[in-house]
Symmetry: C2
Subunit: 555 residues, 2 copies
């Protein structure tokens, strides 16, 4: 330890929101000289409020500008909110990546999909490894979650040790991987200065429950069903896929897999020695020949995604797959907040087709992969950190987590946000600085800032439409042609055919040019006047304020 | 009864969806000769999937075309999904309106707001009235709900009687109005052929609970709070306003009312002899002088509406109203599906300001105004109709309701949708025909069809942007000026400043005009070629498919 060294934590994503987790640890004297370690590079998904944008990533300018001091990246596990951003940001990050085998398989796939090369960068390490990413020593400690190989990290430095939990729960009987070895955990975390811990379910009392319960319940539910069974879940919930494969086997149903991400995840899992319970996967065509009680369809689209298998089936748009009266659809999944309308619409379409829909409200067929309150109490009892940093949550989750830490005797519960640079050691922890943080969008084929005005323009057009006015004038500022007016999204089809508004606006513009007092020599002023005239006219006519463009062509 | 007469029911809105209830009853020989009665003209609200549209109404073409045969309109109660559309559709409906006093006050207000005259049309009738709207005899029967004067209707015809429940629940101790008089109800509904009944909460077991429980619980919760209390709820939930006013009085807090719709509803209620428990309402300015434990703010915005009082306060944008550390915000309301993200965002902002947020998840401070399963069982036990028509629900609700009716011994449970013309009598009920139904939008200042392409254009622009290309050419088809290219929402600010894409596209268009083989004499073909060129170019450059307009000006 050199004099003046400091250890800092900086979340660029995931602290103050659910999704796009990206955490940085820095060690050194000044922020600009520190060596940096990245833990996870996740994404989150767009929705109706971000039209045209499916993938949202953390603003990574801070580390891009300090790329030379970036020592390495660890991906704790293979969920999109932890690994999904890596390939997108790769050109700005290029440095050694460390991941356990299953996670590494997913990383490889993601690089291949984007046509990127990771040759020489991806280091596949064993579970429970200890690695050096100078100046950090890192011990991997396996916990339980809903995907294979959920790694927590003991990050050791000369100024103190950090326990970074990643995503976890306490599952005493997980269907994928082993239960947490608490003796091992305790011996590995004897001297933890700070714990950086998952907050997702802190508002839920009790315990999340074991995947084995879901396995038993789901099998029982399916035993009682006569006709076709469709089960939908996240492909990334590999534990659930194992559960569903087991239930199919127990109820003598052949598995049919629908949806690209489901096929892909099953293939990666089987390459890694998981999901080996599945004897055979029938194609949709083969399944048609089976009796209705002999098949179980495992489908993507549990959140009502328009292109997910479940919605396509509901829209009768999936070749060789039909729903008949009294087939059963099981949603073995959570309704993610914000997806309610889409999911209920899916329920309704399935109901219209005569299917029975079973959800977690009806049967105990889903458990969360994150710790509820009592599990978090257990974790604090085991780790007893001096400092607690709640991450992986919105403000209301972080706040409750911070209060919990206080109740558990933590001396410094630190409620921070994305962009806060928290000094963990030496001395009492405090936020020493803040860096720019926020979101960037993957729009079409490249990254753009979420606050870019072209994104705002898109929203404005969605609300109010667009008006383009082109005036062709001669040197004496006389109109040489009819003003060219294009109105999009302002008046309805029928009105547009009649062209009433456009015709009247044309007249207004003619009048404008006839009155020579309007015709300022200053081009800018002329634009402004025409814009005001056009906007006011349309507003008066329609109460809409379209995005307005004026072009003047001199000939 | 003339030979050949028929009695039909036709829902134009609300059957297969929650919201915009509009129900028609017809009596006569042929559909086109029948006399029509409208029960309710409601709206529903737009969201991110309908940018620029706040108000959505049922397509009313069917009755507009048969306006001459329209005998009257009854509004059962004053909720937006039952009354909100009346003033919007009024020019096409003009006919006698019937409503009880409180509902009539709201109707008057709505006509005034839209500058419409209802002189001579609005008939204010007493509770429990019996009226004639030929050929229908209608008896009003008060039930319980969350607003004053929830009227159900016994619609009597020579072919049989219909019980139209409107919105209801069984509240044995309502805070507004009286409990249902089941003796009266039974004697009024001795001979019901068909029941048209609310399905909103059929998926919820048990009972909805009494508003009195909320009154007691809310008062207890507020007694335990030290600092400022903000309670938010729907202004239209007048029972809840009474409950909150009571809690304020019991806890010695002065009431401060925030939000336009809240002020308006309280004023109408007090004009009608309701909410008279309130001694004084403080202004925001007066409230500042009070101690923190002496005030209770009653606020709009329980659904996270951007202009609601609650969100404005959270954004520190409400004059004279501040939230300090450990003030308490109580959401005495339901989270309406689809509003989760907005509401959670509001929770987070309040949490960031240091406030404590209490919701129905924490305390028993909300009950629904609609019947849960056991209440519906009671209703069927009382009414015993031969025909049941579930309305006021999505398909999954209607289906469960229809199954319930079957279980309750109803001979004809009729699962129908908006636009189905159901013959109720004579004979066994069946859908004799279907009419056009659907949604229309109030866009800016007028009604447009939801399927109008200008609405689709707006969404397309939101996803992919707009490209406008104007080419000015001479008689020999040479470009006379630089092609005028306007790109909106396609490339980011920085890229736009560099103008790279636009410059390159200009070059492509120059090349296009230089190659004379491109220049078809057929103007249409020229447009198509330029459009394809431009679209493909932009797609290659950005992976976006903008809405593209080509203009060619000949000079």
């Amino acid at each position: 330890m050199s004099k003046g060294d400091r250890l800092v934590f900086l979340p660029l994503g995931g602290t103050g929101e659910i999704g796009m987790n990206m955490n940085l640890y820095g060690y050194g004297k000044e922020i600009d000289d520190m060596k940096w370690l990245i833990v996870d590079v996740g994404i989150t998904f767009g929705d109706e409020t971000t039209p045209g944008v499916d993938i949202i990533l953390p603003d990574h300018d801070f580390i891009k500008e300090r790329k030379d001091n970036l020592s390495g990246i660890i991906i704790t596990h293979a969920h999109e909110d932890h690994v999904g951003g890596l390939a997108y940001l790769w050109p700005d990050l290029k440095c050694p990546i460390y991941a356990t085998p299953f996670t590494a398989s997913i990383i490889r796939l993601k690089f291949e999909e984007r046509g990127l090369d990771h040759e020489g960068y991806l280091n596949v390490i064993d579970l429970s490894s200890e690695i050096q990413i100078k100046p950090f020593d890192i011990k991997f400690q396996t916990l339980t979650h809903s995907i294979p190989e959920p790694n927590s990290l003991i990050i050791k430095t000369k100024l103190g040790n950090i326990y970074h939990t990643g995503d976890w729960k306490i599952d005493d009987d997980p269907v994928v991987g082993k239960a947490i070895d608490f003796n091992e955990l305790k011996s590995n975390t004897k001297d933890i200065l700070a714990m950086v811990c998952d907050s997702t379910n802190v508002l839920t009392k009790g315990r999340s429950g074991s995947e084995s319960e879901v396995k038993n319940n789901l099998t029982e539910v399916i035993k009682g069903i006569k006709n076709r069974v469709f089960v939908t879940s996240f492909a990334s919930n590999v534990a659930r896929l194992e559960t569903i494969a087991h239930a199919a086997k127990e109820t003598n149903r052949s598995l049919v897999v629908l949806g690209r991400s489901m096929h892909r995840m099953i293939s990666v899992a089987r390459q890694n020695g998981i999901l080996n319970d599945i004897d055979v996967i029938l194609s949709e065509k083969e399944a048609v020949k089976k009796k209705r009680e002999e098949v179980l369809y495992l489908c993507t689209g549990s959140q009502g995604e328009p292109r997910g298998a479940m919605m396509r089936i509901a829209n009768q748009d999936f070749p060789h797959v039909d729903i008949d009266l009294d087939d059963t659809i099981i949603f073995s999944s959570k309704i993610i907040p914000g997806n309610e309308k889409k999911i209920f619409q899916l329920f309704n379409r399935l109901s219209e087709l005569g299917a029975n829909v079973i959800t977690e409200y009806d049967e105990n067929i889903h458990v969360s992969g994150h710790p509820c309150l009592d599990e978090m109490v257990d974790m604090y009892d085991n780790i007893k950190p001096a400092i607690s940093v709640p991450v992986h949550g919105e403000h209301r989750h972080l706040k409750r987590h911070s209060n919990l830490a206080k109740e558990m005797g933590v001396k410094f519960p630190m409620l921070i946000s994305n962009g806060d640079i928290l000094q963990i050691a030496p001395g009492s922890p405090y936020v020493v600085d803040q860096c720019d943080s926020g979101r960037q969008y993957f729009d079409g084929n490249r990254l753009v800032k979420s606050e870019s005005s072209h994104i705002k323009d898109r929203k404005r057009m969605a609300y109010n439409g667009v008006l383009n006015v082109t005036c062709i004038i001669d040197q004496k500022m006389n109109l040489k042609e009819n003003p060219l007016i294009i109105s999009i999204g302002i008046v309805s089809d029928q009105e547009y055919e009649n062209d009433e508004m456009v015709y009247l606006l044309e007249e207004e513009i003619y009048k404008f040019f006839e009155d020579k007092t309007n015709l300022s020599k200053k081009e800018k002023k002329l634009y402004q006047k025409l814009e005001t005239l056009s906007r006011n006219f349309v507003f008066k006519h329609t109460r809409k304020k379209p995005l307005t463009n004026i072009s003047i062509v001199h000939i």
